[in-house]
């Protein structure tokens, strides 16, 4: 075999042929163009149509943006400056930015307070979002609601302090008793907190001006600030309620399960706007005579209920996705229901459901614009009401709607990018 082989091979090259550059068509920009823009005649046509479309849009949009007027007192001045060109009248933003962001009644000299609250929000939320930050920052997260309340609503510092004392007192009592009985601990904790708040009420009434910031009533909140307040408050309040509802729906106790199912399906079956109608015109009938809630508080209640039903469904998905073995393992360790949920099930289920919760949060934040339908002056309500209706700016649609869309886009896109990043980080399968 080897003999014949040796005879048939006539020539063996002993040196390599020098490498040649690959043909132009398979490298560099040409290759990229061929593969990505003109892989077939159909996609070639699509590419050309897309380029024409982009060019058309930019040819309208860019002159509108770059030729825009940023300094004018009203739309008529804007039009004089354009002299017939179609350009943006951005002067409305420079003149009314404070109304768009803070509403028309929030005192102008106090704008630093909500702004500071927003910056602190970033600090408070950071350790929740990024697990590699020092855990000590969570202490600030726990304090944040009280700080934010003090900053945004003002009034004496005693109110948030008493609230904080009540929460801490309640937690200490709960922590003492939780090892003996979860329910007993919870009830004792709530009672302790209530007692501290009740006592604190007397202290607050005695010194209403201690370290007081100028008090701003809720009805003066408006603009984008109102959207942020509603979004942040409702999402954070609806999380615990959503967890309870999800657990209730998974529970083996028929009455509790039935209550949760009816609540969740009812809330998910009606549009948010009808719940806002309830907050606006119906809820007052169901409260004790003489109580007079803020509209903003009623709206917060209804949006929280709305969001908690959706979050409950997301968390239920997380609970269902956990392997059965986790539940059985917890049982076999001898943990009771509360312990197994707190220590084994919920930490894993919540981790799975974070992307879903973030989606609900984004949707909810977008839905806060619906309050403009029941004549609250959030960002959209501000634009549709006082600004577009004024004689100065009647007809400046694109600049205002564009500004509102941009604000929401920045926030929501940011959150959804975070959610995708988190999903990639949490993904443990290697596909």
């Amino acid at each position: 075999m080897s003999d014949t082989h040796a005879q048939t091979v006539g020539y063996v090259r002993e040196t390599f042929i020098p490498e040649q550059a690959p043909p132009h068509a398979v490298t560099g920009p040409v290759k990229w163009l061929r593969e990505n823009l003109f892989p077939s005649w159909f996609y070639g046509i699509l590419t050309i149509v897309s380029v024409l479309f982009i060019f058309y849009v930019l040819s309208i949009f860019l002159p509108w943006l770059t030729g825009g007027v940023w300094d004018a007192a009203n739309i008529r001045e804007c039009r004089e400056i354009f002299a017939g060109d179609s350009a943006g009248c951005f002067a409305v933003l420079t003149e009314r930015w404070h109304q768009l962001l803070f509403g028309f009644s929030y005192p102008q000299h106090a704008y630093w307070r909500p702004t500071l609250a927003l910056i602190l929000l970033a600090v408070a939320v950071a350790p929740v979002l990024f697990s590699n930050l020092p855990r000590g920052m969570l202490a600030f997260t726990a304090l944040y609601p009280f700080i934010a309340f003090y900053l945004v609503w003002g009034g004496t510092i005693l109110i948030p302090l008493v609230a904080l004392a009540g929460v801490i007192g309640g937690y200490l009592v709960y922590a003492q008793l939780v090892d003996r009985s979860l329910v007993g601990g919870l009830i004792a904790g709530v009672v302790a907190a209530a007692v501290i708040w009740w006592l604190g009420g007397f202290v607050t009434a005695e010194m209403p001006n201690l370290l007081a910031l100028e008090a701003v009533p809720s009805r003066d909140m408006g603009g984008f600030m109102l959207n942020m307040i509603l979004g942040v408050v409702c999402v954070s309040l609806s999380l615990p309620i959503g967890i309870l509802l999800a657990l209730g729906r998974q529970s083996s106790l028929p009455i509790i399960k039935w209550i949760c199912v009816v609540f969740i399906e009812f809330v998910r079956g009606v549009p948010l706007i009808t719940l806002l109608f309830v907050a606006n015109v119906v809820l007052a009938y169901f409260l004790p005579p003489g109580t007079n809630f803020d509209l903003i508080l009623r709206v917060i209640i209804m949006i929280t209920l709305f969001a908690s039903a959706y979050i409950a469904e997301v968390i239920r998905g997380g609970l269902a996705a956990l392997p059965r073995g986790q539940y059985e393992a917890a049982d076999s360790l001898g943990l009771d229901y509360a312990q197994s949920m707190r220590l084994i099930i919920l930490p894993q289920a919540l981790k799975i459901s974070i992307p879903g919760i973030v989606n609900v949060a984004v949707g909810l934040f977008k839905d806060t614009t619906l309050v403009s339908i029941i004549s609250m002056f959030d960002l959209v309500g501000m634009i549709r009401g006082p600004i577009l209706a004024s004689t100065d700016w009647n007809g400046v649609y694109w600049e205002l709607f564009g500004f509102a869309a941009l604000l929401f886009f920045v926030v929501c896109y940011g959150i959804s990018q975070y959610s995708q990043w988190l999903e990639r980080k949490l993904a443990t399968d290697h596909r």
Partner: protein, 408 residues
């Protein structure tokens, strides 16, 4: 230590209601039920007392009273003398109309955008991501307002189309001689049903039945004998009867928008109002972005091995798509798609922002303000949406049960 299999069978003690897991569940449920009843009673008492204090009662009598307001777009006969109930019915039908239209267009848009997001064309891919992200991250209310404004300021004056009996050269021509987009709305030809239209309708139904039967026959032949019959007869069977009936009888004719007889406005045809167009477009484009993401996820969910396995069996690309990829992708796509339809229905309640008379705008808007019957109207409103949602989720559950993977 001895293993105790059964707890000691001594008598029932009251403390077991808290400490024994066998009875604790009962205690919890009892407490929850009591709390629920107490809360309901509390709310109910407040309601009764508040109503008594305000001199009101709960009564649906107002539904029979004349509404006294006009509605610009109605599917059924309605005048301002009609009852509130009639107004609510108009609103209900309008809600269903815009939701139905938006579901169809949103699905088409979403499928196109979702497929194009996976295309090999870089530019198209990026363009579609811009579309999806722009619409997903901005509130639907803002999009409704933006598109509402675009629709409101565009369109020519209807007078520009008028020929005034042929005496004037119109500034604008009807598109294809039958459509006109004016600042009052969109004019399109109406279907005029002449005598014998029922025959045409029957022919149409017969065509559909025949086409379905042919498809069934094709499939059975394929499975039984492996012979593939051609698919073009489907279309012939579908279209031929209705076209023949129409040609023979001439029962159905188009009544075009009339630009000649009146000197001020276009007469005849169907006028689709601007609010409807605005809401329809906005809901379609907005929800289309969400559906695009569902479609993309569904196609990506079918693993590459499936396509490759089908190819190795010798199937051609179109067959692979129809027989292997789509059936598996649809299982992933359909459930979120249906919940998007639900979202469209719920989001159509924002019609009030562009002045479209859906049920929220009629019953929950003008009727509520005129009669002051807040509880009754809001309750009816919720009931209506709830029924639609429950119907749609019932359909979804049935579908899920049929396509669910049968394993173990």
């Amino acid at each position: 230590m001895t293993a105790i299999t059964d707890p000691p069978a001594d008598g029932f003690k009251l403390s077991m209601l808290i400490n024994d897991t066998r009875y604790r569940g009962l205690t919890f449920q009892f407490v929850a039920l009591i709390l629920l009843i107490v809360m309901m009673a509390f709310l109910g008492m407040n309601l009764v007392r508040n109503l008594a204090a305000a001199g009101l009662n709960i009564s649906y009598g107002f539904l029979g009273e004349p509404a006294g307001y006009d509605i610009n777009q109605t599917l059924i006969d309605y005048t301002s003398q009609s009852t509130h109930l009639r107004a609510a019915m108009v609103g209900l039908l309008n809600t269903l109309l815009v939701a139905f239209m938006a579901c169809i267009t949103a699905t088409i848009l979403g499928v196109i955008a979702g497929v194009l997001r996976l295309s090999p064309n870089w530019l198209v891919r990026k363009l579609m991501s811009v579309y999806v992200e722009a619409f997903r991250n901005v509130p639907v209310l803002i999009w409704i307002l933006i598109i509402g404004t675009i629709v409101t300021i565009s369109g020519a004056n209807p007078r520009d189309f008028l020929t005034r009996g042929g005496s004037v050269e119109p500034q604008s021509e009807l598109f294809l001689g039958m459509f006109a987009f004016t600042n009052r709305g969109f004019y399109s030809p109406a279907l005029d049903l002449g005598p014998g239209w029922i025959v045409v309708l029957i022919a149409l139904i017969a065509g559909i039945v025949g086409a379905v039967a042919w498809r069934w026959h094709v499939r059975r032949t394929l499975y039984n004998s492996g012979r593939l019959l051609p698919s073009w007869p489907t279309w012939v069977i579908l279209i031929a009867p209705v076209v023949l009936a129409q040609l023979v009888l001439g029962a159905i004719s188009l009544s075009l928008p009339d630009v000649e007889s009146n000197n001020f406005n276009i007469q005849g045809g169907i006028l689709i109002g601007k609010p409807l167009i605005a809401l329809w477009l906005a809901l379609s484009v907005y929800t289309g972005a969400f559906i695009a993401e569902n479609v993309r996820a569904g196609i990506l969910a079918v693993s590459k091995g499936q396509t490759e396995a089908a190819a190795s069996l010798g199937l051609r690309p179109k067959r692979i798509m129809n027989l292997v990829v789509l059936p598996q992708a649809l299982r992933v796509i359909i459930p979120p798609l249906i919940s998007q339809f639900l979202n469209i229905t719920k989001n159509s309640s924002l019609a009030i922002a562009v002045g479209y008379a859906d049920i929220t705008a009629t019953l929950g808007g003008i009727t509520l303000n005129q009669t002051g019957r807040a509880i009754e109207t809001v309750l009816l409103l919720m009931l209506f949406y709830l029924i639609i949602s429950l119907l749609i989720s019932a359909v979804m559950n049935v579908y899920n049960a049929t396509v669910a993977l049968k394993e173990r």
